[in-house]
């Protein structure tokens, strides 16, 4: 029987970090991997005392993060290499994509970036002390960004999620329980281990735990996700993470959601000016679509183009070729295409001339040209190019689930962005620029650091 076979294989050991200390063990088995037994009492920081880093100056924290970044790059103990290797061997992402992502993992751990982040989202003055004001009525008040108690439900489709979550958690000085996703069980732990190697007893190190439990496990969530222990649940991702989280949101326990999102592109008639331009547009559009082999919220899935079906064909052929290229966060081979998606695409192949399809259904890149958007979710490097008379006709396809909208040419952005924002979209970029950003400027419609802290006043 399946269960017996599973147990006979060696499980992948997933370590935990509890308040900065590494914990190993394989008492809890989850299919192909095993973790130490979870002691839920060890996962809370009692409210009766301030968190370890509540009074640590921001400069100290930035120094620690910078040293951590340096050590992540040098990696003398091999912690990062092992994590990268394990993710490459066991995860959903292509090995090359994982390796390049790990090379980039420490790029925000520099004083320039960290100071830009703090100043852009908060200001170090409110992190380290009180900002004084007098209101028009003559009342004096001071306020500060007080360190929060956070549970982070991490997403695992890109290792950068763990890095930015640790940076935000450290800079806001609070206590942080990271719930690991089954698709990235190692990155957060490796960064925290590296940080502990830099400064074993640093208050920030003692402010982090990173553990796995099965999302939705009542035996854990029902008792941990309470306002008596934590202030906010910082949740990434789709229904999987929000479905169970929603149950526990109540007064005193707030949700900060990096909602599940879809991204799109809008390509104006100007793309057809000459063959070179068309090729450049196709390359930029492919770059936006292939982010993490199209597993990210920023990855474009639908491209609305000002053209007729016939005119768009040349563009689709160029786009399909461009989808096959290896890029910073994209592989040639692509991600495994889900069987149902492959069948949906293969079915459309028989519906020429209403639907035209370029590329094989094997993850290397498929382009579907149509008059109406397809009703499935394009992934594994699948792009649906939808023809429109004018880009304004495509505005109705933007919604509250739309994150990034990549536009060509850049001159068309100003005319479209207010309408897109009104429909629910959050981020307008020039086509080809979807990757990156979101640090020191709003992310998903808000300033994350600002949302994470607790705003406390002292009035007189």
């Amino acid at each position: 029987m399946t269960d017996l076979i599973d147990r006979s294989l060696a499980a992948l050991a997933v370590p935990h970090i509890i308040k900065g200390r590494l914990v190993v063990g394989d008492e809890s088995r989850y299919g192909a991997f095993a973790t130490p037994a979870l002691d839920i009492d060890a996962l809370v920081w009692p409210r009766s005392e301030p968190g370890p880093a509540f009074s640590t100056p921001t400069n100290d924290i930035i120094s620690l993060l910078v040293a951590t970044g340096e050590r992540m790059r040098a990696d003398p103990s091999g912690v990062m290499r092992v994590a990268c290797e394990t993710m490459a061997a066991t995860g959903d992402l292509d090995r090359g994509v994982v390796e390049r992502a790990y090379q980039q993992l420490s790029h925000l751990f520099t004083s320039e970036w960290l100071e830009f982040l703090v100043e852009g989202e908060l200001g170090a003055d409110v992190l380290d002390g009180w900002r004084k004001i007098t209101d028009p009525g003559g009342r004096n008040a001071q306020y500060r960004a007080f360190p929060p108690r956070l549970v982070h439900v991490l997403a695992g489709n890109a290792p950068g999620v763990a890095a930015i979550s640790i940076i935000r958690g450290a800079l806001t000085k609070g206590v942080n329980l990271l719930k690991l996703p089954s698709n990235d069980l190692f990155t957060a732990t490796a960064i925290l281990q590296t940080m502990a190697e830099v400064a074993p007893d640093h208050p920030v190190v003692r402010s982090f735990s990173a553990v796995y439990w099965k999302g939705g496990d009542e035996a854990v969530e029902k008792y941990l996700l309470r306002p008596t222990f934590f202030d906010k649940l910082v949740a990434w991702g789709g229904e999987g993470s929000l479905r169970s989280a929603k149950k526990y949101i109540r007064p005193g326990f707030e949700l900060v959601a990096f909602d599940p999102k879809t991204s799109i592109s809008m390509i104006g008639r100007e793309a057809f000016a000459d063959p070179d331009t068309l090729a450049q547009v196709a390359d930029a559009a492919a770059a936006d679509s292939c982010i993490y082999d199209q597993s990210a919220c920023t990855s474009s899935r639908f491209q609305y183009i000002e053209a007729t079906m016939e005119e768009a064909e040349a563009y689709c052929a160029l786009l399909q070729t461009a989808l096959r290229l290896e890029r910073q966060t994209a592989s040639t081979a692509g991600a495994r295409m889900p069987p149902a998606l492959r069948e949906d695409i293969d079915s459309l192949r028989s519906l020429d001339p209403f639907y035209k399809v370029w590329g094989a259904s094997d993850g290397t890149g498929v382009v579907i040209l149509s008059e109406d958007p397809v009703d499935f979710h394009p992934e594994a490097k699948t792009v649906n190019v939808v023809v429109v008379k004018c880009l304004e006709d495509a505005l109705r396809f933007a919604s509250v689930a739309t994150q990034t909208v990549g536009i060509f040419p850049a001159s068309r952005k100003a005319g479209l962005r207010d309408h897109l924002a009104s429909a629910g979209a959050q981020r307008i970029v020039t086509l080809g620029s979807a990757l990156g950003g979101g640090v020191g400027i709003p992310h998903d419609g808000f300033f994350p650091l600002h949302r994470l802290v607790r705003w406390i006043t002292d009035e007189s």
Binding site: M1, T2, I5, D92, V153, L154, A155, G156, N157, A158, V161, P181, S182, N183, K214, G215, G216, W236, G237, G238, E239, G240, S241, L242, D259, P260, K261, T262, S295, A296, C297, S299, P338, P339, A340, E343, D344, D346, S347, L348, R349, S350, L351, F354, Y355, A360, S361, S370, E371, D372, P373, V374, D375, H377, R396, S399, V400, A401, A423, G424
Partner: protein, 447 residues
């Protein structure tokens, strides 16, 4: 007679559902080979799959696994065709999924999806449909030959001790009289074969309407595009409510008739929760246990669909109905026939359906084809005249390949009674930041 015909002819054998693998497998293998060769000529989608998976020869049953499709294959049409009323395009799509030529279908002035389906039926495409919670409907083509096999299979009602089709039963069906669901199509055959023509009772004489289901999809689309008004969303929920209130009234009348006729043979078909309501009302009316005619047939199945019944609901129900007959099975709308349940609660293989047990990803066999194997259920149905019918399901089953076992009195390949669902592949605690509008509108229209 070729191998496939030999397997289909077994429907008339008394030991149809208990035949040994040694007899079935060589025929199935030969029939699958012939059918695959014929169908890949007829269906480009199967030929493409075979080429991509590099399947050229079928040497063993497991060689067929790469040729099985996911259950969404039969709803792979673009929803825009339905929303825009492009019935010629829908017909073209169905044509790619079936061996039958579609040129005889009259597509003049088709008013809606129900009208389209009736035009298909008029042209001999006896499609049956299924609906998911998304509001997208599957279309499975059937030919008159397929329908004839279903009727022969239904003559074994209440196997292993089949009742005779003598038109002496009152028929109670806890659903609408007609509609393109396989359950309703089969119920109509049962009524014709076994029912007293003057005593056929349905919850509703209105046909089941697919437009009610596709309207849900339409509203979802409008919601996604921010075009649905709050009152439109409310109206959608209300229409469901008004309908269920009307149904509740008719259901109470039906229960009254069932109680009144309990000393005569009846065939009662409905969900377990509905059977439970019958029992409750009958007890309140003072009906003692075991007071039903022994030739009465209780036909039920499926899950509880959220109804709260005690764990031993089946035992309690059969204690109440007494020594009546029962017809239960393990099946799905995509399969030509269900695996009938024996008296020990095990589901027996239908000779023309090759079952597979796959790993949880639905890619490889979960184990060799002997002994007891647990995993994802998949099948190739060799009977279908109108389509290639090999599917991978979301069911987690325990399949018993042993010829005999201590737990059951009857031999043959069986599926064990405990059947559960796999979570959708890949959704197990893998968290990503990408998502769709579904997460924002789910729960608002009962999906």
């Amino acid at each position: 007679m070729n191998s496939r015909q030999a397997l289909l002819a077994m429907v008339d054998l008394d030991d149809c559902f208990t035949l040994p693998q040694s007899e079935l497998v060589p025929l199935q293998l030969e029939a699958a080979r012939e059918l695959f060769a014929e169908r890949r000529e007829q269906l480009p989608i199967l030929d493409r799959r075979a080429r991509e998976m590099e399947v050229d020869r079928i040497d063993a049953l497991d060689d067929l696994i790469p040729l099985l499709f996911s259950h969404t294959a039969f709803k792979s049409y673009p929803n825009a065709f339905v929303q825009n009323g492009q019935w010629d395009r829908m017909t073209k799509w169905l044509g790619t999924m079936t061996t039958r030529p579609m040129d005889g279908v009259d597509l003049d002035n088709v008013t809606d999806i129900d009208d389209w389906v009736s035009r298909l039926w008029a042209a001999g495409h006896l499609v049956n449909t299924t609906s998911g919670t998304s509001g997208k409907v599957s279309f499975l083509n059937r030919s008159p030959v397929d329908d004839a096999l279903l009727q022969r299979y239904l003559q074994r009602l209440c196997w292993p001790e089949p009742i005779k089709p003598e038109r002496k039963h009152h028929i109670f069906f806890m659903g609408p009289r007609t509609g393109p669901y396989l359950l309703l199509i089969a119920a109509n055959h049962v009524a014709r074969l076994y029912g007293r023509p003057e005593s056929l009772h349905y919850l509703s004489d209105e046909p089941l309407r697919l437009s009610d289901i596709t309207r849900m999809a339409e509203t979802r689309l409008k919601m996604a595009e921010g075009r649905a008004s709050p009152s439109e969303i409310a109206a959608l929920e209300d229409s469901g409510r008004a309908k269920s209130a009307e149904m509740a009234g008719r259901f109470a009348d039906m229960i009254g008739k069932i109680i009144a006729l309990r000393h005569e043979p009846m065939i009662i078909t409905g969900g377990w929760a509905q059977m439970w309501e019958v029992m409750k009302a009958a007890r309140e009316a003072g009906v003692p246990n075991g007071d039903f005619h022994p030739d009465t047939v209780i036909q039920s199945g499926g899950g509880l669909k959220g109804a709260k019944l005690p764990a031993d609901y089946r035992e309690q129900l059969f204690e109440f109905f007494g020594p009546v007959r029962t017809q239960q099975g393990y099946g799905m709308s995509e399969m030509s026939a269900g695996f009938p349940m024996d008296k020990d609660g095990y589901y027996h293989q239908v000779p023309w359906i090759i079952p597979f047990v796959l790993d949880r990803e639905g890619v490889k066999p979960a184990g060799p084809r002997h002994g007891v194997v647990e995993g994802r259920y998949a099948y190739l149905d060799l009977s279908n005249d109108a389509r290639w019918n090999g599917l991978i399901t979301g069911d987690r089953v325990t399949m018993d390949f042993r010829e005999a076992r201590p737990e059951t009195r009857l031999p043959g390949l069986v599926v064990h009674p405990q059947i559960s669902r796999y979570a959708d592949i890949g959704e197990e605690d893998k968290i990503g930041c990408a998502g769709t509008i579904d997460a924002y509108i789910n729960g608002e229209i009962g999906a």
